[in-house]
Protein backbone atom coordinates (compact mmCIF):
# COMPACT_ATOMS: atom_id res chain seq x y z
CA UNK A 1 0.00 0.00 0.00
CA UNK A 2 2.82 2.40 0.94
CA UNK A 3 4.49 1.56 -2.36
CA UNK A 4 1.31 2.37 -4.28
CA UNK A 5 0.95 5.75 -2.58
CA UNK A 6 4.61 6.55 -3.26
CA UNK A 7 4.08 5.57 -6.90
CA UNK A 8 1.08 7.87 -7.08
CA UNK A 9 3.03 10.75 -5.52
CA UNK A 10 5.89 10.09 -7.93
CA UNK A 11 3.45 10.34 -10.82
CA UNK A 12 2.14 13.63 -9.41
CA UNK A 13 5.75 14.85 -9.18
CA UNK A 14 6.27 14.00 -12.84
CA UNK A 15 3.03 15.68 -13.90
CA UNK A 16 4.01 18.83 -12.00
CA UNK A 17 7.37 18.78 -13.77
CA UNK A 18 5.51 18.74 -17.10
CA UNK A 19 3.14 21.46 -15.91
CA UNK A 20 6.12 23.66 -15.00
CA UNK A 21 7.50 23.14 -18.48
CA UNK A 22 4.35 24.58 -20.04
CA UNK A 23 3.48 27.23 -17.44
CA UNK A 24 3.78 30.81 -18.64
CA UNK A 25 3.13 32.75 -15.44
CA UNK A 26 5.88 33.25 -12.90
CA UNK A 27 3.40 33.23 -10.03
CA UNK A 28 1.91 29.87 -11.05
CA UNK A 29 5.41 28.46 -11.46
CA UNK A 30 6.22 29.26 -7.85
CA UNK A 31 2.95 27.70 -6.75
CA UNK A 32 3.70 24.54 -8.76
CA UNK A 33 7.15 24.42 -7.22
CA UNK A 34 5.62 24.53 -3.75
CA UNK A 35 3.22 21.70 -4.65
CA UNK A 36 6.08 19.64 -5.98
CA UNK A 37 7.92 20.16 -2.70
CA UNK A 38 4.84 19.05 -0.80
CA UNK A 39 4.50 15.86 -2.87
CA UNK A 40 8.18 15.17 -2.30
CA UNK A 41 7.90 15.75 1.43
CA UNK A 42 4.83 13.53 1.81
CA UNK A 43 6.40 10.71 -0.20
CA UNK A 44 9.59 10.93 1.88
CA UNK A 45 7.52 10.80 5.06
CA UNK A 46 5.65 7.73 3.77
CA UNK A 47 8.92 5.99 2.92
CA UNK A 48 10.21 6.90 6.40
CA UNK A 49 7.07 5.50 8.02
CA UNK A 50 7.00 2.25 6.05
CA UNK A 51 10.72 1.45 6.29
CA UNK A 52 11.49 2.80 9.76
CA UNK A 53 14.41 4.90 8.51
CA UNK A 54 14.35 7.62 11.15
CA UNK A 55 16.65 10.06 9.36
CA UNK A 56 14.13 10.24 6.49
CA UNK A 57 11.70 11.92 8.87
CA UNK A 58 14.25 14.70 9.28
CA UNK A 59 14.66 14.94 5.49
CA UNK A 60 10.88 15.14 5.06
CA UNK A 61 10.70 17.92 7.65
CA UNK A 62 13.58 19.84 6.05
CA UNK A 63 11.93 19.49 2.64
CA UNK A 64 8.62 20.68 4.01
CA UNK A 65 10.07 23.74 5.74
CA UNK A 66 12.50 24.69 3.01
CA UNK A 67 10.73 23.89 -0.24
CA UNK A 68 7.09 24.37 0.70
CA UNK A 69 7.42 27.38 2.99
CA UNK A 70 10.76 29.21 2.92
CA UNK A 71 11.78 29.10 -0.74
CA UNK A 72 8.33 30.03 -2.13
CA UNK A 73 8.21 32.97 0.31
CA UNK A 74 11.69 34.07 -0.76
CA UNK A 75 10.71 33.78 -4.42
CA UNK A 76 7.47 35.70 -3.81
CA UNK A 77 9.42 38.51 -2.13
CA UNK A 78 11.89 38.47 -5.00
CA UNK A 79 9.28 38.81 -7.75
CA UNK A 80 7.58 41.56 -5.76
CA UNK A 81 10.81 43.51 -5.46
CA UNK A 82 11.68 42.95 -9.11
CA UNK A 83 8.09 43.87 -9.99
CA UNK A 84 7.63 40.85 -12.27
CA UNK A 85 4.71 39.31 -10.33
CA UNK A 86 2.37 39.32 -13.30
CA UNK A 87 5.02 38.57 -15.84
CA UNK A 88 3.87 36.33 -18.65
CA UNK A 89 6.58 34.73 -20.66
CA UNK A 90 5.92 34.16 -24.33
CA UNK A 91 6.59 30.50 -24.84
CA UNK A 92 6.65 29.43 -28.41
CA UNK A 93 6.05 25.83 -29.29
CA UNK A 94 4.69 24.42 -26.07
CA UNK A 95 3.54 21.21 -27.86
CA UNK A 96 7.03 20.63 -29.28
CA UNK A 97 8.59 21.14 -25.87
CA UNK A 98 6.06 18.66 -24.48
CA UNK A 99 6.95 16.09 -27.13
CA UNK A 100 10.65 16.52 -26.35
CA UNK A 101 9.65 16.09 -22.69
CA UNK A 102 7.89 12.79 -23.45
CA UNK A 103 11.02 11.67 -25.33
CA UNK A 104 13.13 12.52 -22.28
CA UNK A 105 10.73 10.66 -20.00
CA UNK A 106 10.94 7.54 -22.19
CA UNK A 107 14.75 7.84 -22.23
CA UNK A 108 14.87 8.22 -18.44
CA UNK A 109 12.53 5.26 -17.89
CA UNK A 110 14.56 3.05 -20.21
CA UNK A 111 17.77 4.14 -18.50
CA UNK A 112 16.44 3.62 -14.99
CA UNK A 113 14.81 0.20 -15.42
CA UNK A 114 18.07 -1.85 -15.33
CA UNK A 115 19.47 0.33 -12.52
CA UNK A 116 16.38 0.03 -10.39
CA UNK A 117 16.49 -3.76 -10.66
CA UNK A 118 19.75 -3.65 -8.73
CA UNK A 119 18.35 -1.48 -5.97
CA UNK A 120 16.75 -3.31 -3.07
CA UNK A 121 14.39 -0.59 -1.87
CA UNK A 122 10.60 -0.79 -2.03
CA UNK A 123 10.55 2.50 -3.93
CA UNK A 124 12.94 1.42 -6.67
CA UNK A 125 10.37 1.60 -9.46
CA UNK A 126 10.12 5.37 -8.99
CA UNK A 127 13.79 5.90 -9.86
CA UNK A 128 12.84 6.37 -13.51
CA UNK A 129 10.34 9.06 -12.57
CA UNK A 130 12.96 10.83 -10.46
CA UNK A 131 15.43 10.74 -13.35
CA UNK A 132 12.74 11.96 -15.74
CA UNK A 133 11.91 14.94 -13.53
CA UNK A 134 15.62 15.85 -13.31
CA UNK A 135 15.85 15.79 -17.12
CA UNK A 136 12.60 17.76 -17.49
CA UNK A 137 13.94 20.45 -15.16
CA UNK A 138 17.10 20.54 -17.28
CA UNK A 139 14.91 21.01 -20.34
CA UNK A 140 13.05 23.80 -18.59
CA UNK A 141 16.31 25.60 -17.84
CA UNK A 142 17.29 25.26 -21.49
CA UNK A 143 14.07 26.53 -23.08
CA UNK A 144 13.38 29.42 -20.68
CA UNK A 145 14.81 32.84 -21.43
CA UNK A 146 13.94 34.71 -18.25
CA UNK A 147 16.12 34.37 -15.19
CA UNK A 148 13.49 33.50 -12.57
CA UNK A 149 11.97 30.49 -14.37
CA UNK A 150 15.52 29.21 -14.87
CA UNK A 151 16.17 29.36 -11.17
CA UNK A 152 12.89 27.62 -10.46
CA UNK A 153 13.97 24.96 -12.96
CA UNK A 154 17.22 24.61 -11.03
CA UNK A 155 15.35 24.20 -7.75
CA UNK A 156 12.97 21.67 -9.32
CA UNK A 157 16.00 19.74 -10.51
CA UNK A 158 17.18 19.52 -6.93
CA UNK A 159 13.73 18.13 -6.06
CA UNK A 160 14.22 15.42 -8.67
CA UNK A 161 17.68 14.55 -7.39
CA UNK A 162 16.40 14.35 -3.83
CA UNK A 163 13.62 12.04 -4.96
CA UNK A 164 16.11 9.89 -6.87
CA UNK A 165 18.22 9.55 -3.72
CA UNK A 166 15.17 8.57 -1.67
CA UNK A 167 13.93 6.01 -4.16
CA UNK A 168 17.28 4.38 -4.92
CA UNK A 169 18.98 4.27 -1.51
CA UNK A 170 16.52 5.62 1.07
CA UNK A 171 18.18 9.03 0.96
CA UNK A 172 21.63 10.40 1.46
CA UNK A 173 23.17 10.72 4.94
CA UNK A 174 21.53 13.46 6.92
CA UNK A 175 24.64 15.66 6.99
CA UNK A 176 24.81 15.67 3.19
CA UNK A 177 21.11 16.44 2.91
CA UNK A 178 21.36 19.33 5.36
CA UNK A 179 24.36 20.62 3.44
CA UNK A 180 22.44 20.49 0.16
CA UNK A 181 19.44 22.18 1.73
CA UNK A 182 21.65 25.00 2.99
CA UNK A 183 23.32 25.26 -0.43
CA UNK A 184 19.97 25.56 -2.16
CA UNK A 185 18.85 28.24 0.27
CA UNK A 186 22.05 30.24 -0.06
CA UNK A 187 22.00 29.68 -3.83
CA UNK A 188 18.52 31.19 -4.04
CA UNK A 189 19.70 34.29 -2.15
CA UNK A 190 22.74 34.61 -4.40
CA UNK A 191 20.50 34.25 -7.47
CA UNK A 192 18.29 36.96 -6.00
CA UNK A 193 21.21 39.35 -5.82
CA UNK A 194 22.19 38.35 -9.35
CA UNK A 195 18.72 39.19 -10.63
CA UNK A 196 19.09 42.76 -9.45
CA UNK A 197 22.51 43.04 -11.07
CA UNK A 198 21.26 41.55 -14.33
CA UNK A 199 18.35 43.94 -14.40
CA UNK A 200 20.48 46.95 -13.55
CA UNK A 201 22.92 46.14 -16.32
CA UNK A 202 20.46 45.16 -19.07
CA UNK A 203 17.13 46.67 -17.97
CA UNK A 204 15.60 43.22 -18.37
CA UNK A 205 15.69 39.77 -16.84
CA UNK A 206 16.02 38.20 -20.25
CA UNK A 207 19.32 36.36 -20.11
CA UNK A 208 19.77 36.39 -23.87
CA UNK A 209 21.32 39.81 -23.34
CA UNK A 210 24.18 38.17 -21.52
CA UNK A 211 25.37 36.67 -24.78
CA UNK A 212 26.32 40.15 -25.97
CA UNK A 213 28.91 40.48 -23.22
CA UNK A 214 31.53 39.12 -25.55
CA UNK A 215 33.80 41.78 -26.99
CA UNK A 216 34.75 41.00 -30.53
Amino acid sequence: MAQQVVNLLATILLIIAFAMLSQRRVLSLIRLFAWQGLALSVSTAIVAYSTGQTHLWASAAVTLVLKVIVLPIVLHKLIDQLNVRWDVETLINVPTTMLVGIGLAIFAFALATPISEMAGTVTRSTLGIALASVLLSFLMMIVRRKAIPQVIGFLAMENGLFFAATSATYGMPLVVELGIALDVLVGTFVFGIFFFHIRETFDSLDIRHMETLKED
Binding site: Q4, N7, T11, M98, G101, I102, S125, G128
Partner: protein, 316 residues
Protein backbone atom coordinates in the same frame (compact mmCIF):
# COMPACT_ATOMS: atom_id res chain seq x y z
CA UNK B 1 -27.91 -22.34 -28.49
CA UNK B 2 -28.98 -18.74 -28.49
CA UNK B 3 -28.60 -16.88 -25.26
CA UNK B 4 -32.12 -15.40 -25.06
CA UNK B 5 -31.64 -14.01 -21.57
CA UNK B 6 -28.50 -12.22 -22.69
CA UNK B 7 -30.21 -10.79 -25.76
CA UNK B 8 -33.12 -9.59 -23.63
CA UNK B 9 -30.70 -7.95 -21.25
CA UNK B 10 -28.89 -6.34 -24.17
CA UNK B 11 -32.15 -4.91 -25.54
CA UNK B 12 -33.09 -3.66 -22.09
CA UNK B 13 -29.73 -1.92 -21.70
CA UNK B 14 -29.91 -0.32 -25.15
CA UNK B 15 -33.42 1.01 -24.55
CA UNK B 16 -32.40 2.19 -21.09
CA UNK B 17 -29.49 4.16 -22.57
CA UNK B 18 -31.60 5.86 -25.23
CA UNK B 19 -34.32 6.79 -22.77
CA UNK B 20 -32.02 7.88 -19.96
CA UNK B 21 -29.62 9.98 -22.05
CA UNK B 22 -31.82 13.14 -22.17
CA UNK B 23 -32.36 12.80 -18.44
CA UNK B 24 -28.60 12.99 -17.85
CA UNK B 25 -28.39 16.07 -20.07
CA UNK B 26 -31.28 17.66 -18.18
CA UNK B 27 -29.63 16.82 -14.87
CA UNK B 28 -26.34 18.44 -15.94
CA UNK B 29 -28.17 21.58 -17.09
CA UNK B 30 -30.19 21.68 -13.89
CA UNK B 31 -27.08 21.34 -11.73
CA UNK B 32 -25.39 24.08 -13.68
CA UNK B 33 -28.42 26.34 -13.19
CA UNK B 34 -28.37 25.67 -9.43
CA UNK B 35 -24.67 26.43 -9.23
CA UNK B 36 -25.24 29.68 -11.08
CA UNK B 37 -28.02 30.61 -8.65
CA UNK B 38 -30.78 30.17 -11.22
CA UNK B 39 -33.90 28.08 -10.73
CA UNK B 40 -33.20 25.97 -13.80
CA UNK B 41 -35.43 24.46 -16.45
CA UNK B 42 -36.07 21.16 -14.67
CA UNK B 43 -34.46 17.83 -15.43
CA UNK B 44 -37.22 16.76 -17.84
CA UNK B 45 -36.75 19.75 -20.17
CA UNK B 46 -34.78 17.80 -22.85
CA UNK B 47 -37.73 15.34 -23.20
CA UNK B 48 -40.18 18.21 -23.75
CA UNK B 49 -37.82 19.75 -26.26
CA UNK B 50 -37.49 16.50 -28.18
CA UNK B 51 -41.27 16.05 -28.12
CA UNK B 52 -41.82 19.56 -29.41
CA UNK B 53 -39.21 19.20 -32.15
CA UNK B 54 -40.69 15.90 -33.36
CA UNK B 55 -44.05 17.62 -33.85
CA UNK B 56 -42.75 20.47 -35.97
CA UNK B 57 -42.53 20.64 -39.71
CA UNK B 58 -39.02 20.15 -41.01
CA UNK B 59 -37.52 22.94 -43.09
CA UNK B 60 -34.66 21.97 -45.36
CA UNK B 61 -32.56 24.14 -47.63
CA UNK B 62 -33.35 23.82 -51.35
CA UNK B 63 -29.92 22.60 -52.36
CA UNK B 64 -29.52 20.12 -49.48
CA UNK B 65 -28.42 16.71 -50.72
CA UNK B 66 -29.45 13.27 -49.51
CA UNK B 67 -26.45 13.34 -47.18
CA UNK B 68 -27.94 16.22 -45.24
CA UNK B 69 -31.22 14.35 -44.73
CA UNK B 70 -29.58 11.04 -43.89
CA UNK B 71 -27.03 12.35 -41.40
CA UNK B 72 -29.34 12.67 -38.36
CA UNK B 73 -30.32 9.02 -38.71
CA UNK B 74 -26.70 7.94 -39.19
CA UNK B 75 -25.68 9.96 -36.12
CA UNK B 76 -28.41 8.50 -34.00
CA UNK B 77 -27.59 4.99 -35.19
CA UNK B 78 -23.87 5.41 -34.50
CA UNK B 79 -24.42 6.71 -31.00
CA UNK B 80 -26.96 4.03 -30.20
CA UNK B 81 -24.55 1.37 -31.45
CA UNK B 82 -21.74 2.84 -29.36
CA UNK B 83 -23.97 2.95 -26.30
CA UNK B 84 -24.89 -0.70 -26.92
CA UNK B 85 -21.23 -1.73 -26.80
CA UNK B 86 -20.39 0.11 -23.58
CA UNK B 87 -21.21 -1.98 -20.51
CA UNK B 88 -23.65 0.29 -18.68
CA UNK B 89 -25.65 -2.16 -16.58
CA UNK B 90 -23.93 -5.47 -17.20
CA UNK B 91 -20.77 -6.93 -18.64
CA UNK B 92 -20.50 -9.91 -20.95
CA UNK B 93 -23.60 -9.06 -23.01
CA UNK B 94 -23.88 -10.76 -26.40
CA UNK B 95 -23.47 -7.52 -28.31
CA UNK B 96 -20.38 -6.33 -26.43
CA UNK B 97 -18.03 -8.48 -28.46
CA UNK B 98 -19.15 -6.89 -31.73
CA UNK B 99 -16.55 -4.18 -31.30
CA UNK B 100 -13.60 -3.43 -29.05
CA UNK B 101 -12.35 -0.03 -27.90
CA UNK B 102 -10.61 0.75 -31.17
CA UNK B 103 -13.81 0.12 -33.13
CA UNK B 104 -15.70 2.17 -30.55
CA UNK B 105 -13.47 5.18 -31.24
CA UNK B 106 -14.02 4.42 -34.93
CA UNK B 107 -17.80 4.60 -34.51
CA UNK B 108 -17.49 8.03 -32.90
CA UNK B 109 -15.21 9.08 -35.75
CA UNK B 110 -17.76 7.87 -38.33
CA UNK B 111 -20.44 10.01 -36.70
CA UNK B 112 -18.07 12.96 -36.71
CA UNK B 113 -17.28 12.60 -40.40
CA UNK B 114 -20.99 12.51 -41.26
CA UNK B 115 -21.94 15.54 -39.20
CA UNK B 116 -19.00 17.52 -40.59
CA UNK B 117 -19.95 16.59 -44.18
CA UNK B 118 -23.59 17.50 -43.54
CA UNK B 119 -22.52 20.84 -42.08
CA UNK B 120 -20.55 21.65 -45.22
CA UNK B 121 -23.26 20.27 -47.50
CA UNK B 122 -25.49 23.32 -47.15
CA UNK B 123 -22.68 25.70 -47.92
CA UNK B 124 -23.25 28.28 -45.22
CA UNK B 125 -20.21 29.88 -43.66
CA UNK B 126 -21.16 28.80 -40.15
CA UNK B 127 -21.44 25.18 -41.24
CA UNK B 128 -18.01 25.42 -42.82
CA UNK B 129 -16.20 26.84 -39.82
CA UNK B 130 -18.04 24.51 -37.46
CA UNK B 131 -17.05 21.48 -39.50
CA UNK B 132 -13.41 22.54 -39.72
CA UNK B 133 -13.16 23.19 -36.01
CA UNK B 134 -14.87 19.90 -35.23
CA UNK B 135 -12.34 18.04 -37.34
CA UNK B 136 -9.49 19.95 -35.67
CA UNK B 137 -10.76 18.97 -32.22
CA UNK B 138 -11.53 15.45 -33.37
CA UNK B 139 -8.16 14.60 -34.83
CA UNK B 140 -6.46 15.81 -31.64
CA UNK B 141 -8.91 14.14 -29.26
CA UNK B 142 -8.87 10.71 -30.90
CA UNK B 143 -5.23 9.79 -30.18
CA UNK B 144 -5.60 10.96 -26.59
CA UNK B 145 -8.77 8.86 -26.25
CA UNK B 146 -7.06 5.79 -27.74
CA UNK B 147 -4.04 6.19 -25.46
CA UNK B 148 -6.33 6.46 -22.43
CA UNK B 149 -8.16 3.30 -23.43
CA UNK B 150 -4.88 1.51 -24.17
CA UNK B 151 -3.67 2.21 -20.63
CA UNK B 152 -6.76 0.47 -19.28
CA UNK B 153 -6.28 -2.28 -21.86
CA UNK B 154 -2.70 -2.89 -20.67
CA UNK B 155 -3.88 -3.13 -17.08
CA UNK B 156 -6.48 -5.74 -17.91
CA UNK B 157 -4.87 -7.47 -20.87
CA UNK B 158 -7.67 -7.05 -23.39
CA UNK B 159 -9.04 -4.44 -25.78
CA UNK B 160 -12.66 -5.57 -25.37
CA UNK B 161 -14.35 -3.04 -23.13
CA UNK B 162 -16.46 -5.63 -21.33
CA UNK B 163 -13.38 -7.72 -20.43
CA UNK B 164 -11.56 -4.57 -19.25
CA UNK B 165 -14.44 -3.65 -16.98
CA UNK B 166 -14.67 -7.17 -15.57
CA UNK B 167 -10.94 -7.25 -14.86
CA UNK B 168 -11.00 -3.82 -13.24
CA UNK B 169 -14.15 -4.43 -11.22
CA UNK B 170 -12.93 -7.66 -9.67
CA UNK B 171 -9.34 -6.93 -8.77
CA UNK B 172 -8.60 -6.06 -5.17
CA UNK B 173 -8.45 -2.37 -4.40
CA UNK B 174 -5.18 -0.80 -5.48
CA UNK B 175 -4.04 2.66 -6.45
CA UNK B 176 -2.97 2.73 -10.07
CA UNK B 177 -1.00 5.89 -10.89
CA UNK B 178 -1.30 5.05 -14.58
CA UNK B 179 -5.07 4.88 -14.33
CA UNK B 180 -5.12 8.20 -12.44
CA UNK B 181 -3.25 9.86 -15.33
CA UNK B 182 -5.57 8.21 -17.81
CA UNK B 183 -8.63 9.40 -15.85
CA UNK B 184 -7.58 13.04 -16.05
CA UNK B 185 -6.77 12.66 -19.76
CA UNK B 186 -10.15 11.00 -20.35
CA UNK B 187 -11.94 13.84 -18.59
CA UNK B 188 -10.25 16.34 -20.89
CA UNK B 189 -11.18 14.31 -23.96
CA UNK B 190 -14.77 14.02 -22.70
CA UNK B 191 -15.02 17.81 -22.38
CA UNK B 192 -13.61 18.35 -25.86
CA UNK B 193 -15.57 15.61 -27.64
CA UNK B 194 -18.92 16.57 -26.16
CA UNK B 195 -18.57 20.28 -26.85
CA UNK B 196 -18.48 21.16 -23.17
CA UNK B 197 -17.17 24.38 -21.73
CA UNK B 198 -13.43 24.83 -21.85
CA UNK B 199 -13.49 23.92 -25.53
CA UNK B 200 -16.99 24.77 -26.73
CA UNK B 201 -20.06 26.26 -25.10
CA UNK B 202 -23.13 24.01 -25.39
CA UNK B 203 -25.55 26.79 -24.38
CA UNK B 204 -24.90 29.38 -27.05
CA UNK B 205 -26.05 30.06 -30.59
CA UNK B 206 -24.58 33.53 -30.67
CA UNK B 207 -20.85 33.24 -30.44
CA UNK B 208 -18.53 33.17 -33.39
CA UNK B 209 -16.50 30.61 -31.46
CA UNK B 210 -19.18 27.91 -31.36
CA UNK B 211 -18.29 24.55 -32.80
CA UNK B 212 -21.02 21.95 -32.38
CA UNK B 213 -23.91 24.43 -32.60
CA UNK B 214 -22.41 25.99 -35.74
CA UNK B 215 -22.60 22.63 -37.48
CA UNK B 216 -26.24 21.94 -36.70
CA UNK B 217 -27.60 25.46 -37.30
CA UNK B 218 -29.42 24.40 -40.48
CA UNK B 219 -31.26 21.48 -38.91
CA UNK B 220 -34.83 21.80 -37.75
CA UNK B 221 -37.71 19.75 -36.36
CA UNK B 222 -37.27 15.96 -36.36
CA UNK B 223 -33.76 16.15 -37.82
CA UNK B 224 -32.66 18.54 -35.09
CA UNK B 225 -34.36 16.36 -32.49
CA UNK B 226 -32.37 13.33 -33.66
CA UNK B 227 -29.12 15.29 -33.71
CA UNK B 228 -29.71 16.63 -30.21
CA UNK B 229 -30.74 13.21 -28.98
CA UNK B 230 -27.61 11.70 -30.52
CA UNK B 231 -25.51 14.34 -28.75
CA UNK B 232 -27.19 13.42 -25.45
CA UNK B 233 -26.50 9.71 -26.06
CA UNK B 234 -22.89 10.57 -26.90
CA UNK B 235 -22.46 12.37 -23.59
CA UNK B 236 -24.13 9.44 -21.84
CA UNK B 237 -21.86 6.95 -23.63
CA UNK B 238 -18.71 8.89 -22.76
CA UNK B 239 -19.74 9.20 -19.15
CA UNK B 240 -20.51 5.50 -18.90
CA UNK B 241 -17.15 4.67 -20.49
CA UNK B 242 -15.52 6.86 -17.84
CA UNK B 243 -17.52 5.24 -15.07
CA UNK B 244 -16.84 1.76 -16.44
CA UNK B 245 -13.09 2.34 -16.62
CA UNK B 246 -12.43 4.30 -13.46
CA UNK B 247 -15.26 3.31 -11.07
CA UNK B 248 -16.64 -0.03 -12.27
CA UNK B 249 -18.04 -1.25 -8.96
CA UNK B 250 -21.60 -2.52 -8.79
CA UNK B 251 -22.03 -3.56 -12.41
CA UNK B 252 -23.98 -6.77 -13.08
CA UNK B 253 -22.19 -9.77 -14.50
CA UNK B 254 -23.43 -11.54 -17.58
CA UNK B 255 -27.21 -11.60 -17.81
CA UNK B 256 -27.82 -11.87 -14.13
CA UNK B 257 -31.34 -10.48 -13.66
CA UNK B 258 -31.05 -10.60 -9.88
CA UNK B 259 -28.23 -8.05 -9.90
CA UNK B 260 -30.20 -5.69 -12.14
CA UNK B 261 -31.70 -3.42 -9.44
CA UNK B 262 -28.27 -2.94 -7.83
CA UNK B 263 -26.71 -2.28 -11.23
CA UNK B 264 -29.35 0.30 -12.16
CA UNK B 265 -29.04 2.02 -8.79
CA UNK B 266 -25.24 2.05 -8.99
CA UNK B 267 -25.28 3.37 -12.55
CA UNK B 268 -27.82 6.07 -11.68
CA UNK B 269 -25.88 7.17 -8.60
CA UNK B 270 -22.52 7.26 -10.38
CA UNK B 271 -23.92 9.12 -13.37
CA UNK B 272 -25.72 11.62 -11.13
CA UNK B 273 -22.45 12.33 -9.33
CA UNK B 274 -20.54 12.53 -12.61
CA UNK B 275 -23.15 14.91 -14.06
CA UNK B 276 -23.00 17.15 -11.00
CA UNK B 277 -19.21 17.11 -11.24
CA UNK B 278 -19.36 18.06 -14.91
CA UNK B 279 -21.71 20.96 -14.11
CA UNK B 280 -19.40 22.15 -11.32
CA UNK B 281 -16.40 21.94 -13.64
CA UNK B 282 -18.22 23.92 -16.30
CA UNK B 283 -19.25 26.56 -13.79
CA UNK B 284 -15.75 27.24 -12.50
CA UNK B 285 -13.96 27.26 -15.84
CA UNK B 286 -14.08 29.69 -18.72
CA UNK B 287 -14.10 28.89 -22.38
CA UNK B 288 -10.76 28.87 -24.20
CA UNK B 289 -9.99 30.61 -27.40
CA UNK B 290 -10.35 28.10 -30.21
CA UNK B 291 -6.62 28.18 -30.83
CA UNK B 292 -5.90 27.09 -27.29
CA UNK B 293 -7.79 23.83 -27.91
CA UNK B 294 -4.77 22.07 -29.51
CA UNK B 295 -2.74 22.86 -26.40
CA UNK B 296 -5.54 21.53 -24.16
CA UNK B 297 -5.83 18.30 -26.12
CA UNK B 298 -2.06 18.04 -26.43
CA UNK B 299 -1.94 18.03 -22.64
CA UNK B 300 -4.58 15.29 -22.60
CA UNK B 301 -2.48 13.21 -25.00
CA UNK B 302 0.61 13.86 -22.89
CA UNK B 303 -1.14 12.69 -19.73
CA UNK B 304 -2.43 9.57 -21.44
CA UNK B 305 1.05 8.72 -22.76
CA UNK B 306 2.54 9.39 -19.32
CA UNK B 307 -0.04 7.04 -17.83
CA UNK B 308 1.04 4.31 -20.20
CA UNK B 309 4.75 4.94 -19.49
CA UNK B 310 4.15 4.89 -15.76
CA UNK B 311 2.35 1.58 -16.22
CA UNK B 312 5.42 0.11 -17.88
CA UNK B 313 7.71 1.54 -15.20
CA UNK B 314 5.81 0.49 -12.10
CA UNK B 315 3.61 -2.33 -13.45
CA UNK B 316 0.63 -0.74 -11.73
Amino acid sequence: MIDWAGIAFQILQSVFVVLAAPLLLGWVNQCRAWLQNRRGPGVLRPYFMLWRLFHKEAVIAHHASVLFRATPYVLFGCMWLAAGIVPVLATDLPFAFAADIIALVGIFALARVFIALAAMDIGTSFGGIGARREMLIGFLAEPAMLMTLFTAAFLSGSTALTTIVEALAHREFAIHPSLACAAVAFLMVLLAENARIPVDNPATHLELTMIHEAMILEYSARHLALVEWAAAIKLFAYMTIGVALFAPWGIAEGSDWGALPVAIAAAALKLALAGAGLAALETVSAKFRVFRAPEFLGTAFLLAVLGMLVYFLTNA
